[in-house]
């Protein structure tokens, strides 16, 4: 009797605590996902009452008949590579900030600040910085008697300029994650290595790095997801221009839905993106674990 009572109470508590989160997840994640999948098989224009079923047509169109979509994915690749190349630098900065420099607390705050600023505000700030009319960067170039650069107007440069903004904004969170991993390390291992005469590099490579592997994996996953889903920076700063040169996959998806009234195709693009992120993450995880 007493046992049953406790079990019953446990169940009530469980149901009570889980009910709201379950409802929220179902409403805001599972239901939209099901709708997204369902809409991806239609040619819905975003307004009509009828949604015509078109089977796999949207997916076929994306894979075999949409070179512009794959070109935009190439732009995502620039963000991905930029952030990937920056990870060792972020690791090093986090290593320094872990009580190895003076005023590390102040530097930690400064490092994290860009991440806390609204992305639209960051984008607007960089628009002025990159401006060809009266931008700071071009003024500096002119001061040194160099030619102006079309940071946002040259199709060959624009994606690198935007990647720079993304690095400025998101590196802070990576550094803080690495820093948290460093601080959770047990100091006795490091102390032992110091006694054994290991250099700072050896300490880092043989002790620190293997122990923060889960965090590195997390940052790599965040990089794949973030780079493939980047939207706000190119959308606010260039609207994907000039002439679609800085369009990313997500900007293409939004334009397909809202500018070209093809919600069915846009939903299919969202699913393709989801699959690409999963595949990339798996490949990255496998490659990362090869060495381990």
């Amino acid at each position: 009797m007493f046992k049953n009572n406790v079990k019953m109470q446990k169940n009530i508590v469980l149901v009570t605590f889980l009910f709201i989160p379950t409802i929220l997840i179902s409403l805001f994640m599972i239901y939209p996902l099901i709708r997204l999948v369902a809409l991806s098989f239609t040619s819905w224009d975003g307004l009509s009452l009828t949604k015509t079923f078109v089977g796999l047509t949207n997916f076929k169109k994306i894979i075999f008949d949409s070179p512009e979509v794959w070109l935009s994915l190439k732009n995502n690749g620039i963000y991905f590579l930029g952030h990937l190349l920056f990870i060792p630098i972020e690791l090093f900065l986090a290593f320094l900030l872990d009580k190895r420099v003076r005023y590390s607390k102040m530097f930690k705050t400064i490092t994290f600040l860009p991440y806390m600023i609204n992305t639209v505000a960051v984008a607007c700030m960089f628009i002025f910085l990159y401006s060809s009319q009266d931008g700071v960067l071009n003024s500096m170039l002119q001061f040194f008697h160099m030619d102006k650069i079309g940071w946002l107007s040259d199709p060959e440069i624009v994606n690198y300029s935007l990647t720079g903004v993304s690095l400025w904004k998101f590196s802070g969170i990576h550094i803080i994650l690495f820093l948290a991993a460093f601080q959770s390390l047990q100091t006795d291992m490091l102390e032992a290595s110091i006694i054994d005469g290991a250099s700072t590099f050896k300490q880092f490579y043989h002790i620190v790095l293997p122990n923060i592997k889960p965090v590195v994996e997390l940052v790599l996953f965040l990089n794949v997801r973030g780079a493939l889903q980047i939207f706000d920076i190119p959308y606010v700063m260039t609207s994907g221009g000039p002439n679609h040169a800085s369009e990313t996959f997500t900007v293409q998806t939004i334009n397909t839905a809202f500018q070209y009234q093809n919600f069915g195709l846009a939903c299919a693009m969202a699913i393709v993106l989801m699959i690409i992120i999963i595949i990339f993450s798996i490949i990255q995880k496998k490659l990362f674990n090869l060495k381990g």
Binding site: N5, M8, Q9, I12, T16, F19, D45, G46, L47, S48, L49, T50, E68, Y130, S131, S132, Q133, K148, G150, W151, L152, S153, D154, P155, T238, S239, G241, P242, N243, H244, N255, T256, F258, Q259, Y260, Q261, N262
Partner: protein
Amino acid sequence: MVKKKLLKKISLSLVTATLLSTIAVGCSNSNSASTASDKKVTLKMALWGDDEYKYMTETNKIADAYKKVHPNVTIEVEKIAKTEYDNTMKIRSTANQLPDVFPVRQANLSLYGDTMVPLNDLKATANNIYAKETMIKGNVIGLPEAVFNEFVYYNKNIFKEYNLEIPKTWDEFIKVCQTIKDGKKYTPLALGLKDSWVNYPLNEYMPMLEAGDGQYYNKMATKDDPFTKGQPFYNAYTKIQKLYDAKVFGEDPLGYGWDQQRAMFVAGKAAMFAAGSWYKSDYNQNGGKDENLGVFLLPTRNNASDPFYTTAMTEFFWGIPKTSKNQKEAKEFLEWFFGDYYTQLATTIKIKPTMNGVSYNDKFFAQAFDGVDAKSVTVFYDEKYNKVKNAMKFDVNGIGQQMMAGKTSLDSIMNDLNTQWKKARGN
């Protein structure tokens, strides 16, 4: 034991009550005014125009004015930011939450073909100059409120400084730009191409002016290769390329946008600015003074003896969604709205009217038509064109950016367009 049971019962009933109340709140219908037994009706309106909203809620309150004629009807006006308007309406449409009366942007008109109530039988429709020209699937689904002409705004002082006259042909226009450029003091024509839409007076409208047909894009949708040499689109783009090649938009037109473009013009750093009549209020709101401001029509013709075409773009298509529970009242409202109230509205906010019998005498814009035998072509995009456009993601303003970047030849751009257009039509 008894205490525990009691506690359990209380907690269970609390949880149940919370859940039931949540479900009840979620399922309740907030739109209850429309079906009240005393026949009181609330008509919900939404719009994006700043001037219209100010007039309807402050200058001449539409709710009060309509209450005098229909005491049982309450009008609620909601303003939605113009940048959010289209998407907000789409979202509301999918949620069956569209207001009873609202304007549709012309660019989206064909999309709303099945969503809106036909207004063919209204007196206001018969009295509207453009309603029959802008039908979707044979029905008038929206009554245009205003018509906009496109102009080139210019700084009179700069024109005086260089002793320039109003150009009458395309070559004269380029020559005027070139003269100002040679002076090295001002940007001849402000065009912030970082925002691609700003080149719409050129890249979007010039093919229509070249063809002398506001529905030229609709005709293009019936052909496989409308971008071929000799066709109006190709000819218009050759002229645009000539202007772009003259480099009269400042150092790096792809590097600055709309905000900088208008700031340059208001500050007197740019001599000309191509935009519709809608820009005038924006110019004044940003501190621009009328004394120095002049307007002329964009002269796209080759010779002074050719016809002088100018575009007339109808906008704000007021309509009623099929989901409205107050369709009868909404139709009555539209009949009333496009009567005396509309005349006062059009006069006060200085829009070019779309209704017969409403006089229009804007002296500022009248100067553009002085001494020119201009022929208006009414811009309209039908369903066929929109289908092809959406299928191939046809973006004329993006092409403008590509032309400005100068890395692809015009012929190559046009050949690509022909291929894509044919494919899109085939699909």
